[in-house]
């Protein structure tokens, strides 16, 4: 939505047609002999050498997996080994021209890409840089081990051993792995050589790689991003979402940096004909030629092309052209790289889905054999030379396998000695108010923003100096309290960007960002397509590159659309990288009201359940500003829940209201909004205000004084104040708008029961929403916890209130059992 682009009925209704350009397939025709003028002989030999290393590495893994023995070295390894035997030419061809600022992302079958890109980087980096990388990576731990067991010929030889040994230790789950073995085969990577995370979720890398490309474009960083995915991943929604995301029209129509295309990314699809056992072409996919997809995405057809991936020179030729295109701002590019895996999907694959005839036909064009023959025929080197090369490669691999398999050289992480190895990396708990130096970009003086002036004039509390209520329009509310720290961060951190659906001109569906578009450029604040997976997934990529991002899901209910990106990506990369990656991503999620079953759900429990996410849900302006400030100064992923019921709420509890200056609330703290000695009420979200009503009735009519503690943070959560309160009162009610079954307050109730059992005067009682669909707003009182429900719960389960008549009957044991049995 933008007023500068006119949606013209006259233009749109004219008869016309869509014209497609032809998409080239396998256009490279040169033999090695014909290509010799393009390459030095040493380069051609090195291309083949790298292929032998890739082949030997996976051949070793295959033998370890299937026979427990490689050239006399006995070891076993229970984890996955998704091999790409037969696909080595593509990997080496891709890496050949990539520079040190170019980065690759991969998938579950990416050993070859990791090694090829690393070997390419080693070739391009000088000795000093290589030594610095090895000496500083993990404080030189891997290098120190190598120093004790191997005398290298030179730095490049040492670096090659370093990469092979570190990668194999990572696969074998050893402490000397790139990420202390915590990532493993499907998640191995090595940032210093431009090898970025591989992903065990099919297509999982696509949104992340696009986010990395977004980081490069927004922050004007050199280099491009290669996203390695397989043909099977073209059936995944997030992949299709992100093809569009990376080619959005606004990149060339609206963005201030004036580029001809979209993001600097090459989607490199390894088209090996199978998604596990499902044959893509002809069985599970609609395309006949994968490259066709590019034509459906954008007018430039994503410069799509099919390449014969068994010829490294064909792949190099393609990358030479596409790399130049992307560097001129012409991305994204979509490549269909034909290849074939000679081994199974994994080592347990029975090959039930393909014939021996087919396997034989592809073995005949195995690039390891075919390219060697061509090199010999072209007299680049003799066959005996390659025989010797092979012997050297095998010997080296045997050596490295021996080191990695030997627990004395390559021990496992010692959990018995240090139980907290992973615990320490679940969160980085960093504090980094800005992630880069430099002047943040604005279209105009940020303080000229009309919103800034409006907010400045507002009363900071819900009551004026004499305690009288202030009108809604004149008091600082929760949406202002979120705006303030966000806008301040835009002034402080040049890397921060915000996007999501309708965040720019609309200011977000709930107007939190209203007015920001007057001064913040498109490059820092833009409307995303209705693509929740792409929004969250690209944020992950932007964050792990070292940029700060606030992305937004308009409704909590849309979390399902970004499930993998939140639950498997955002949450896991800090720990899977053993703390090397940081994830400064704040994901704003708005919990709806009034819009029924698919727009009114509080799914905090889903996020709190997933290890690796910090989860907040402020319910007052003071909480909102303090928590957002803390989230934006931190380096961890924070899912920041907001409630549409209370965006208008002013600060009622904090004396003096919301401070004008910046302040942080420690994520994990709790907010005691009312003191009382008789009963504790713990709340999450907008239910706080129902609890306040209930406390008023308890005090006025029954002489019972409730202490209300709002849990504005779910993960982490410090129980100190909760337990102190329960110690005092002995009675606790927990209330939130989430459906009761499996809700977060159940978890809190369980912990209180365990930690304060002897001080409890009754069971902690959970008051959640019904386990139904959310009905229309008109029936709210029957679905969401009300003040009456809290009173009922207290009366029925904790403290019979004299003369009280229960209103719901929901909190009787009989009804509780009935509902459980019925599954409602």
């Amino acid at each position: 939505m933008t007023k500068t682009l006119f949606v013209d009925p006259a233009e749109l209704s004219k008869p016309s047609e869509i014209v497609f350009e032809n998409i080239p397939a396998n256009s490279y025709k040169k033999t090695v002999t014909e290509a010799r003028p393009d390459f030095a002989d040493a380069e051609l030999v090195r291309i083949y050498r790298d292929m032998t290393i890739l082949r030997a590495f996976e051949d070793m893994l295959n033998k370890i997996k299937t026979q427990g023995n490689y050239n006399g070295i006995e070891t076993t390894y229970p984890g996955p080994a998704h091999l790409s035997l037969g696909q080595e030419a593509g990997a080496v061809g891709q890496a050949y021209l990539l520079g040190t600022s170019d980065i690759i992302f991969g998938n579950h079958r990416s050993h070859s890409e990791i090694l090829a890109k690393s070997l390419s980087a080693i070739e391009k980096l000088d000795a000093g840089t290589l030594m610095t990388i090895m000496e500083t990576f993990q404080d030189g731990k891997i290098l120190k081990t190598l120093d004790t067991i191997y005398t290298a010929k030179d730095v490049k030889d040492l670096a090659a051993h370093f990469v092979l040994y570190g990668a194999l230790c990572e696969i074998f789950a050893r402490d000397n792995g790139f990420h202390r073995g915590m990532g493993g085969s499907m998640h191995a990577f090595f940032l210093p050589f431009g090898v970025y995370p591989n992903n065990a979720i099919v297509g999982g890398s696509a949104p992340i790689a696009a986010g990395a490309a977004l980081y490069k474009r927004v922050n004007e960083k050199p280099g491009l991003v290669v996203c390695n995915i397989g043909d099977g991943s073209l059936g995944c929604g997030p992949v299709l979402e992100v093809l569009n995301f990376s080619a959005m029209g606004q990149f060339h129509t609206l963005w201030e940096d004036k580029k001809p295309g979209g993001l600097p990314i090459i989607f490199n699809v390894w088209n090996n004909a199978y998604g596990m056992g499902g044959q893509t072409n002809g069985e599970t996919m609609a395309y006949d030629m994968l490259a066709r997809i590019g034509a459906g995405v954008a007018p430039g057809q994503m410069s799509a092309e099919r390449v014969w991936g068994h010829d490294p020179l064909a792949v190099i030729d393609c990358y030479r052209r596409k790399k130049a295109l992307v560097e001129q701002g012409g991305g994204p590019v979509f490549l269909d790289v034909l290849t074939y895996r000679l081994s199974g999907h994994s080592t347990s694959d029975q090959n039930a889905y393909r014939s021996k005839e087919e396997l034989d036909a592809w073995a005949a064009v195995d690039p390891i054999k075919a390219f060697r023959e061509e090199l010999v025929n072209a007299e680049v080197a003799s066959d005996a030379y390659f025989e010797e090369m092979w012997a050297g490669t095998t010997e080296r691999m045997t050596r490295i396998c021996g080191w990695a398999a030997d627990p004395a050289i390559s021990p496992y992480a010692d959990f018995k000695k240090d139980y907290h190895i992973i615990e320490r990396t679940m969160f980085s708990n960093g504090r980094a108010p800005k992630l880069a130096d430099g002047e943040p970009k604005f279209l105009a003086d940020p303080d000229s923003c009309s919103r800034v002036r409006q907010v400045a004039e507002k009363n900071r509390a819900a009551f004026d100096g004499e305690g009288k209520p202030v009108s809604k329009l004149k008091m600082l509310n929760i949406r202002d309290a979120i705006f303030e720290p966000v806008f301040d961060k835009f002034k402080e951190d040049p890397t921060i960007i915000a996007y999501g659906e309708d965040v720019r001109d609309w200011g977000g569906a709930f107007a939190v960002y209203r007015g920001m578009n007057e001064v913040v450029p498109y490059t820092r604040l833009f409307n995303a397509p209705i693509s929740e997976a792409a929004i969250v997934g690209s944020s992950v990529g932007y964050g792990l590159m070292g940029g700060r991002v606030i992305s937004e899901l308009m409704y909590c209910d849309f979390i399902g659309r970004a499930g993998d990106e939140i639950f498997n990506q955002l949450s896991k990369w800090q720990a899977m990288s053993a703390g090397i990656l940081k994830m400064p991503v704040v994901l704003r999620v708005s919990v709806g009201a009034k819009y029924g079953a698919q727009h009114s759900q509080d799914w905090t429990a889903l996020c709190a359940h997933i290890p690796g996410l910090k989860v907040c849900f402020p319910a007052t302006p003071w909480e909102a500003k303090g928590l957002m400030t803390a989230a934006l100064n931190g380096t961890d992923p924070v899912v920041f829940f907001e409630s549409q019921r209370i965006y208008d709420a002013g600060e009622r509890f904090r004396p003096g209201g919301v401070p004008k200056e910046a302040y942080e609330i420690s994520i994990g703290d709790t907010n005691t909004v009312r003191r009382g000695a008789d009963i504790t009420i713990l709340t999450i979200g907008a239910t706080l205000y129902k609890a306040v009503d209930a406390a008023g009735i308890l005090s006025k009519e029954y002489g019972v004084e409730a202490e209300i503690i709002n849990l504005h943070s779910l993960v982490p959560l410090d129980y100190t104040k909760i337990l102190e309160s329960v110690d005092k009162t002995g009675k606790v009610v927990l209330a939130s708008d989430a459906c009761a079954r499996g809700s977060f307050i159940n978890d809190v109730a369980r912990n209180i029961t365990e930690l304060a059992f002897d001080r409890l005067d009754g069971p902690p009682v959970v008051v959640g929403a019904q386990n139904w669909i959310t009905p229309p707003f008109e029936y709210d009182e029957f679905f969401f916890p009300q003040a009456d429900w809290i009173l009922d719960a207290i009366h029925e389960k904790l403290l019979p209130l004299k003369g009280y008549q229960p209103k719901t009957g929901v909190f009787t044991a009989v009804d509780q059992l009935r509902r459980a049995k019925a599954g409602v």
Binding site: G730, D758, R759, L760, G762, E796, L799, P800
Partner: protein, 435 residues
């Protein structure tokens, strides 16, 4: 008209009783409320009184028989009355239930609510804990919680009722009559009386302050409700006093200068108690709560009277830490600004009268703690030294009072001896181990 006497039901779970001995034989005259026979349950023996007046006409059971509760046991009627129909019918009339006292009724109501047994009894964990500490019988506690659950408030109410009942038997001032002061002599108009009135008064009546009242009640209750006795030990304080000397002259930066003999004893006690949870414990009528953490009560003399602030988790604190904390607590107690939270929660108390020169005393336990340690002054002693020659040394006495309900003499002595050993061995080495 003949009436049946039925076997009383003693508690909800009792289903039958054994007849012990009949006090009346057939044909004997029986008055209402006159003892008829003895009976017993598995827990107690009772006497059944007649619920009717007349002649004992029939016994359904003989001595030693088992009779179901609420079943007819005897028939009382007029001599010669025909009771065959009554016997055949197995009883047509039942005795009217005896009127019960208010307290019994409350107990019954409580018992009815939870089936009369502590397993089935519904009480919150908090109420159970409170009841154990205050010696309140949950079976006799009326519940106010949902579904007949006993809440904390019910235990507090029951506890208050017990105190009130005791106060009733003791007199309005909480003291039994023999504890009351004699009435002052009235000025009866005699010469002696006039003389008394004119001269300086012989005494001043001074009512107890609130804290004094609390101390009085607590100390009396302690002696009345527990089985206290005191062991006196002493230890060679040579090393300890030398260390204290070292501390006094040590570099101020080390922070040991202010550490007193009493602080050292508290420190050593906290470590010794960690090995003796049976001493570091609370006791109630039916059990003990042994603590893994040492919350050390420290008796402090204040202008208002004795106060006992608590050093929590003393076993985890350093000597300097304990010393500093005790100093702060004592100052706060003396100045009357100590938090009430600091005056509860002790698991063991140390009362140090060393500075007064006392040689031994019998400290009174601070209930519901199991024991208290009295610390006496330094005295010179002589013992047989090397070659049988007299060897003079400095000694400090300790007096350990303990509740014999909870522990026996041998373990108490063992603790005292171990403590003496640790005090004798106290040295820089002890402190080095701490760090």
């Amino acid at each position: 008209m003949a009436r049946e006497v039925i076997m009383p039901k003693e508690g909800i779970t009792v289903e039958s009783c054994l007849i012990g001995k009949w006090h009346k034989e057939l044909g004997d005259a029986v008055a209402e409320y006159e003892a008829l026979f003895d009976y017993e349950t598995d827990k107690a023996a009772f006497e059944c009184v007649s619920t009717a007046a007349g002649v004992l006409l029939h016994k359904y059971y003989e001595d030693g028989d088992e009779a179901p509760v609420l079943a007819p046991v005897a028939i009382i009627g007029e001599a010669g009355e025909d009771i065959s129909a009554l016997i055949a019918g197995g009883g047509q009339t039942t005795a009217a239930p005896a009127a019960e006292s208010g307290i019994q009724a409350a107990g019954e109501q409580a018992a009815a609510a939870h089936g009369g047994d502590t397993q089935a009894l519904k009480a919150s964990p908090r109420a159970r804990g409170d009841a154990a500490l205050q010696g309140v019988d949950l079976l006799q506690t009326a519940p106010s919680g949902p579904g007949g659950r006993i809440l904390e408030a019910d235990v507090i109410a029951a506890s208050a009722a017990v105190y009130e009942a005791e106060a009733e038997t003791q007199g309005a001032d909480g003291n039994p009559p023999e504890n009351r002061l004699p009435e002052p002599p009235r000025n009866d108009g005699t010469a002696a009386g006039a003389r008394n009135a004119a001269a300086a008064p012989e005494y001043i009546d001074e009512p107890f302050t609130k804290i004094r009242s609390v101390i009085a009640k607590s100390m009396t209750a302690s002696l009345q409700r527990s089985a206290q006795l005191t062991h006196h030990h002493s230890f060679d304080a040579t090393m300890l006093l030398a260390m204290r000397g070292d501390f006094k002259t040590s570099d101020e930066a080390y922070g040991y200068r202010g550490v007193s003999v009493g602080d050292i004893i508290l420190y050593v006690v906290s470590r010794a108690l960690a090995n003796h949870p049976e001493i570091n414990a609370l006791v109630s009528a039916d059990g003990m709560r042994k603590y893994n953490t040492v919350n050390l009560g420290v008796a402090v003399d204040t202008p208002r009277g004795l106060m006992v602030p608590t050093v929590f988790a003393a076993e985890k604190k350093s000597l300097r830490g304990i010393s500093a904390e005790v100093r702060l607590l004592a100052a706060a107690a003396r100045e009357g600004r100590i938090s009430p939270d600091k005056l509860t929660g002790g698991t063991f108390t140390v009362s140090n009268l060393g500075a007064t020169g006392v040689e031994s005393f019998t400290p009174i336990i601070n209930p519901p703690q199991v024991a208290i340690l009295g610390v006496c002054g330094v005295t010179g002693r002589v013992r047989k030294g090397r070659g049988g020659r007299p060897d003079a040394y400095s000694s400090i006495g300790i007096s350990l009072t303990y509740d014999h309900r909870a522990i026996d003499g041998a373990p108490a002595s063992r603790f005292a001896a171990e403590l003496c050993g640790a005090l004798e061995d106290f040295s820089w080495k002890t402190l080095a181990l701490e760090n």
